[in-house]
Amino acid sequence: MRWIWIDKFEHFEVNVAARAVKNVSLAEEHLHDHVPGIPVMPASLMIEGMAQTSGILVGAARSFREKVILAKINKATFSRLVRPGDQVVYAAKIVNVTEQGASIEGTITVRTSIAGALQELPVGTIDMMFSHIDNNMAGTRFPDFNFVFNAQFMELFETYRRDLNLAMPG
């Protein structure tokens, strides 16, 4: 299993906002343990999904030169369960981005069908902060290699850009 908790970007506006989706499937092992008999998407993994959506958004704001690390979760509230067959939607908005780091506001909704009727309903809100760790206040040095934006994360961003070019040729 790969540690990727978003499937696709639906919207990406560099420096402003991004929206990604994740399809929840019973084929995912963790749902069988969380919780037995009542499979629901763990809130902790939705925080991770928001961190990945926002992290790539924050990374793009500095052309992926910075190592963007989740540093603080200011707020995380959840009001609805997400179940297999649902699609989680992570919408992240940049509030601040500076040389040292960034803060974002995020909302989570779920696209779910109830008796065949598709609805999008609120799930939660998450506000978080990222550090550009090469500019940390303690002056700690990290390897030059950008270990944050590996090929898998970059592929998500590139796929969105390819889709956009296909949809809007020229």
Binding site: A71, K72, V95, N96, T98, E99, Q100, S103, M129
Partner: protein
């Protein structure tokens, strides 16, 4: 209209209770952000963002927390600020009370300069220039 120190303090208190998840009564003027209120490095950036929003001000990089001082051998020797380093700090942080730090200028003590009062004094210079 200029803001009074009490008005600034009340807003700074709101920012700190939110950013550091501390109780109202913990945020006294003398409270040290790190030692007393548990602020870690990312919290300083959070506080900076929230102060900017609360007061409608812009905090330029290095203004509230001075940069390129502690890595300069002219300013720091054997983990102690030199007289030249202290003079530079006074120049860069006119809003801060450095007297306690000056008495024992070990750089590990520097974070204690950041009290609630230091933030209030800094914001005062921004809202009532």
């Amino acid at each position: 209209m200029p803001m009074s120190r009490d008005e600034v303090f009340a807003k700074v208190k709101d920012v700190l209770t939110t950013a550091l998840a501390v109780d109202d009564d913990e945020v006294t003027p003398q409270a040290k952000l790190s030692e007393d209120l548990g602020a870690e490095s990312i919290d300083y950036l959070d506080i900076q963002f929230q102060l900017e929003k609360a007061f409608g001000i812009k905090i330029p990089k290095g203004e509230l927390t001075p940069e390129n001082i502690f890595s300069n051998p002219e300013f720091v020797q054997n983990n102690k600020m030199t007289p030249k380093g202290l003079a530079e700090l006074r120049l860069r942080m006119p809003f801060a009370d450095l007297s306690t730090f000056e008495a024992d200028p070990d750089i590990n003590n520097f974070r204690d300069v950041f009290t609630v009062d230091t933030l209030v004094s800094y914001v005062m210079t921004k809202v009532n220039p």
